[in-house]
């Protein structure tokens, strides 16, 4: 089963084409990660899947129906998007932020139904943000702030969550914290997650499915352990590297070549 698919999707800005006639299937219930070099179009692709950007041609199918035919509120009940580095207005509390994820369910007479309250409580719980509910978003640390935004998408109560580089600007500990949270939501909450990640090693560890974007299309896709190798890293990122096994998780681990301090002579990689 597929959560989302694209049909001959062409994307771009003005005359400039970024993605050309792409047919892509996003597996349901999986954690999928888009990888690729800077400016390869992976963010553009994610944004267009979330209907934030109009395609030049082709379309996107959600639940067997083209999204261009569906009311935007109905889509918002099935698919949530967290854009890259969102900014909350000054003085907004976490609860006020998360509450707004309920927008697609509300009318102007019903702005806080029991279902709304439950969904918001669940979102705060799942992201471990209950104790911060009344704190201002701008007073939180980077990791907490990102969890608050993820809570907003959770309150939307959708089967699909798209995230554009959810770990940008976070230190390593917070990157792991956010990805762990998304992993739980995917494995326990049974949600389809599709995100753009920059860190290839973390992508390999958390993703069920990796999609490598290159040359206005897909270079390769599949399980990280099946497709991530020296050749892929070279083709997609233009980088020479050794791929070894992650000593803890057994997933592919990319050690880039290049310059640097050499402490001992280079040994052949043991894979």
């Amino acid at each position: 089963m597929y959560a989302l698919q694209t049909e001959d999707l062409t994307l771009g800005y003005g005359e400039h084409t970024v993605i050309d006639e792409l047919n892509l299937l996003i597996p349901k219930g999986d954690m999928s990660v888009l990888i690729g070099g800077n400016g390869c179009g992976k963010s553009t692709l994610l944004r267009s899947l979330a209907r934030l950007q109009k395609p030049h041609s082709g379309g996107i199918v959600l639940d067997g129906e083209a999204i261009s035919n569906k009311p935007t509120k109905e889509i918002a009940r099935k698919m949530a998007i967290l854009p890259q580095s969102p900014v909350a207005p000054e003085g907004l509390t976490v609860l006020q932020l998360v509450k707004q994820g309920r927008y697609p369910y509300q009318t102007w007479l019903s702005q806080w139904s029991e279902a709304d309250e439950k969904a918001v409580q669940y979102a705060l719980q799942a992201t471990h943000m209950e104790e911060f509910a009344e704190r201002n978003v701008d007073s939180l640390s980077g990791g907490q702030r990102q969890r608050a935004w993820i809570a907003l998408t959770l309150a939307q109560d959708t089967d699909i969550i798209l995230l554009d580089e959810p770990t940008t600007y976070l230190d390593l500990a917070h990157q792991v914290e956010i990805l762990d949270l998304l992993f739980e939501l995917n494995k326990e909450g049974n949600r389809t997650i599709l995100m753009v990640l920059h860190d290839l090693n973390l992508a390999c560890r958390y993703a069920d499915h990796i999609i490598a974007v290159k040359d206005k299309g897909i270079y390769d896709q599949g399980k990280p352990e099946d497709i991530v190798n020296e050749e892929l890293v070279y083709q997609v990122f233009g980088l020479q590297s050794d791929i070894i096994k992650d000593p803890i998780f057994g997933t592919p681990l990319c050690v880039p070549h290049g310059k640097g301090r050499m402490v001992h002579a280079r040994e052949p990689a043991d894979v």
Binding site: A80, L82, E90, L92, L95, Q111
Partner: protein, 349 residues
Amino acid sequence: MTKYTSFRMKTLSFLLDRRAILIIVSLIGAVILTALISIGIGEIFIKPDAVVKALFGYGTDMNELVVKQFRFPRIAMAILAGGALAVSGAILQGMIRNPLASPDILGITWGGALATIGFLTVFSDKANALTVSIQWQPLASFIGAVLAGFLVFILSWKNGISPIRLVLIGIGLTAVLQALTTLLMIIGPIYRASDANIWITGSVHGTNGQDVLTLLPWVVVLLILLMVYSRRVNLQELGDDVAKGAGAMLLRDRITLLFISTGLAGGAVAFAGGVGFVGLMAPHIARKLVGSSFGVLVPVSALVGSMLVMIADLIGRTLFSPLEVPAGVFTAAIGAPYFIYLLYRSRNK
């Protein structure tokens, strides 16, 4: 969720912020109290209880005349115009996501100014008498203000409305409108220029009951419409992508909100002239009091705006009595330093 009370009744449900409600109630009290005192102060001093009696028709003939004919309409206009300008600013600041936005910089006020001066110039005969009734002036001002808002909107259209383009074009249009206004004042009859100047500064002097009754329903209807829309403003404040992702129809919402904002500012400007900086300051003070949640920000901004104009008017007509200084002088006197303070603070961010 200790700060909040859930309100549910069949299909009706809201989450109420108790502290905000307390602030709104206190502000309403403060506005009423200030109004009573302000009505009492003037050449003839009337005690607040006598003001209440006069308002409800139990006062002396003299008091009733002063209160009902002269002072009450003026104070009511200060409340209405201040509230309308404040809310207009709150909408723009939320939508543009910039705390420095206000109806003054979008050219709305100056559209009204140009139309007013144009009206005074076009309809003056050789003897400098108006050829049509002065009662038409608010309509001319309103049309000018709304046209200016509409023009900004059309000019900043490019596959939708981007807030930053809206601001830049607003600033540009303001400069053009200011220049045209000055030109008309210079080539027009001299004594019209002094009328025009008072109008541009903004004053509630000479308001009559009919003016208040004309503006009141307009402001009330727009405010109700806005309360319905407040949820959408909250969502827009999170940014275009988040709002669209959550199912907002950004373009439709923006057009409606611009319409409400322009309508409110235009209405205020039509009767009270270009009272400056209220649309900038009031939403700011309100945000400090209750945060940025729009459903409570609107009433609090309105009340703060009413207070500001009412107090500015009170100072203007008492401090240099018998000379009257337009209320706009005092809102600008507080507003300009406040604006500089805001700029200074945003510089350090």
